[in-house]
């Protein structure tokens, strides 16, 4: 799956989880940028991404994630099978 498509889908997930259609998500977006994005919301975001892309993040991948771009890279790698 191309990186742009992954980012587009992640954007949709964020809109659904935060119930806010006006959210704009970029590679650099992180918990600092969105008011409601706390550690508990993060759990829901991870679960939603895992469900949407049909993947599981490894423990270390979750703890190392800094921004949306990191998540998109991991998903892309998992799709490429590497």
């Amino acid at each position: 799956m191309p990186h742009e498509e992954i980012m587009k889908k992640i954007g949709e997930i964020f809109c659904e989880v935060f119930d806010d259609d006006s959210l704009v998500i970029t590679e650099q977006s992180s918990a600092k940028d969105i008011e409601d994005w706390d550690s508990l919301m993060n759990i829901n975001l991870i679960a939603a991404m895992e469900d949407t892309f049909g993947i599981r993040f490894a423990l270390k991948e979750v703890s190392d994630m800094q921004c949306v771009g990191d998540a998109a890279d991991i998903i892309e790698r998992k799709y490429a099978g590497t």
Binding site: E16, V17, L40
Partner: protein, 591 residues
């Protein structure tokens, strides 16, 4: 909201929690507020937010107190001003197998494992007892899922040194406590984790990342199960099943195939499955669920099907049978009205998606579970939790009998020339007395279930009823009515609060199964007598309108009360001076 009905898409609920909550609040579906304290042994944030969704979907708007991470013991046992001022209506203790302090070692003696068991269960018992004495409200306690690993393999189960064995023993102690304590309920995590798949349920990554003992995608299942207990405690259970016939309770179409060719009974695998399903349905009668039929069929054919020698459900198992060519939704409405029940208290079971769609669209609040094929009908209904049973009263077990007697009475009424003559023929006898411990459970249950003939729609917990029954500040009465067709049990309640020479009616309700029997007059007479004995000169009645209690809008007027106020919301206050009160009931003999 169908997204929250079983079978739900758990991931979609997690993802759409915020939106779902907004939509539910906008729909105005929730009509009662309840305060729920969740005391956790692990992270409970998403459990709380999912319980909130399921309760809103059942008409309850919860407010939560949530303990800090793993503080369930401290929050319960030590002084807790925050929880005290919160004053919970219900407490949910959400713990997991990781909260067990110490497991037996293989080197332990039998006595040592008994000590461990005792220490662990005493720790929990002290939590329950502290909560019970401080908050007097229902308590829900998770039992334990099995450990994720079993080092001794199969022996882990049977040997007292095994962890699986230890968990089972603790759970058994919890069950015994529940059996002895009326307001204590087990949330059977042991069952639902098995149902979900233990390995997925207890996936350790969720524990190490977020301190969740339950995998995030499994959280809606836990929350749904806990919410079912809560809504059942607050009287939001469904009360009856409305069943289709063809391809729902037997294979084939009786009108086309003929009763003799229906697939039911031991001859085919499909027939065996329908038999098992029928046996499952019939068992609902024993817990007071009313069975009815809504089928597009000629009545004659429908009865032939039910009289099939292998049909386990017989015509006499049903209260109302509607077999005709009317639309399913209008039959459904007619059944609710004949039973004197709200349309939202019945569950519609039909294999045909189009019929389910009509009923779902036309009858807001009706239970309409999605069904797979016959092999899954049982679990589809079972997991929906419509009839979550929190206690088994004698009354529940007799309910089908009572409703059938009512239908008999309806038939009898047609043969009399006037209604009084009919009522006299019933030879009614009533027992009207102050609340007594024998009926306390039924009394609490009635305050939570009665919606139509209910002037104030105040809900009471068991302990509140006990307190009121013991207090000198109240006049309480329950009314039990029997007649020549049978005993209706406790059907009416009054709670009057004494203030000087006045008695304020906090509660006046009557079960709709005895409408138009003059029972309300008999209750009023006894109330007046008791008030006069207590030196009371005036009774003040209150009517608070709800979506369901319009039938009693003018009840106090009919008893001769005078209205003293009426506000914009329709709340009214009524007064009756007792001087010169004359008895109104002439048809019911008092026991």
């Amino acid at each position: 909201m169908q997204e929250l009905d079983y079978p739900f898409d758990a991931e979609k609920i997690i993802k759409g929690k915020k939106r779902l909550k907004r939509q539910l609040l906008e729909s105005g579906k929730a009509t009662v507020k309840k305060k729920i304290a969740v005391l956790g042994g692990y992270t409970t944030s998403d459990i709380v937010s999912c319980i909130e969704l399921f309760l809103l979907n059942n008409g309850i708007e919860p407010v939560f107190y949530e303990s800090e991470y793993d503080r369930f013991y401290q929050d319960a046992v030590f002084d807790n001003p925050e929880l005290e001022s919160f004053a919970p209506d219900i407490i949910y203790i959400c713990t997991c197998v990781r909260n067990i302090s110490e497991f037996p070692k293989v080197s332990d003696t039998r006595e040592r494992t008994d000590e461990l068991l005792n220490a662990e269960t005493e720790r929990f018992r002290s939590v329950w007892e502290a909560l019970e004495s401080r908050y007097h409200c229902p308590i829900i306690q998770n039992n334990f899922e099995y450990p994720l690993v079993r080092r001794l393999g199969n022996l882990d189960r049977s040997d007292y040194r095994g962890a699986v064995n230890f968990v089972s023993r603790i759970n058994a102690v919890f069950d015994a406590y529940a059996l002895e304590h009326e307001q204590f309920y087990i949330c059977d995590v042991n069952y639902i984790s098995a149902d979900y798949g233990l390995k997925k349920w207890s996936d350790p990554s969720y524990w190490y990342l977020y301190k969740y003992a339950v995998a995030v995608p499994a959280i809606p299942y836990l929350a749904f199960n806990a919410a079912n207990i809560i809504k059942a405690i607050f009287g939001k259970n469904k009360k009856g099943l409305v069943l289709d016939l063809d391809n729902t309770i037997w294979g084939g179409v009786v009108g086309d195939d003929g009763a003799e060719n229906l697939r039911i009974g031991p001859d085919t695998s499909e027939g065996q499955m329908y038999s098992e399903f029928q046996r499952y349905l019939k068992g609902f009668k024993d817990i007071g669920v009313l069975l009815n039929i809504d089928s597009k069929n000629d009545e004659e054919n429908a009865l032939q099907g039910l009289n099939h020698p292998d049909s386990i459900l017989r015509p006499e198992d049903f209260i109302v049978i509607k077999a005709n060519w009317e639309n399913k939704d209008s039959n459904f409405r007619a059944i609710a009205s004949e039973l004197n029940l709200g349309e939202d208290s019945l569950v519609f079971i039909d294999d045909n998606p189009a019929e389910r769609h009509i009923v779902r669209e036309q009858i807001p609040g009706a239970g309409v579970p999605e069904l797979g094929d016959v092999s899954s009908f049982m679990t589809d209904i079972d997991r929906s939790g419509f009839f979550e049973t929190v206690s088994l009263s004698d009354d529940d077990m007799k309910r089908n009998e009572m409703y059938r007697e009512n239908i008999e009475r309806d038939k009898a009424v047609r043969s009399f020339s006037n209604y009084d003559e009919y009522l006299r023929s019933l030879e009614m006898k009533a027992e009207i007395e102050p609340f007594n411990p024998l009926y306390i459970q039924r009394i609490a249950q009635l305050t939570n279930k009665t919606n139509q003939f209910n002037l104030t729609t105040r809900r009471y917990t068991l302990s509140e009823i006990e307190d009121i029954a013991d207090s000198d500040d109240y006049i309480t009465l329950y009314g039990k009515l029997e007649d020549r067709f049978g005993d209706n049990g406790v059907v009416s309640l009054l709670i009057g609060r004494k203030e000087g020479n006045t008695c304020h009616m906090d509660l006046w309700l009557m079960s709709c199964r005895v409408l138009k029997r003059d029972m309300e007059l008999a209750m009023a007479d006894v109330l007046a007598d008791r008030c006069l004995e207590a030196g009371i000169t005036e009774i003040v009645g209150y009517y608070y309108p709800t979506r369901k209690n319009k039938m009693v809008e003018n009840f106090y007027a009919s008893l001769g009360f005078e209205r003293v106020s009426l506000d914009e919301q329709g709340n009214s206050v009524w007064k009756l001076p007792l001087e010169g009160y004359t008895h109104k009931n002439t048809l019911i003999e008092l026991l």
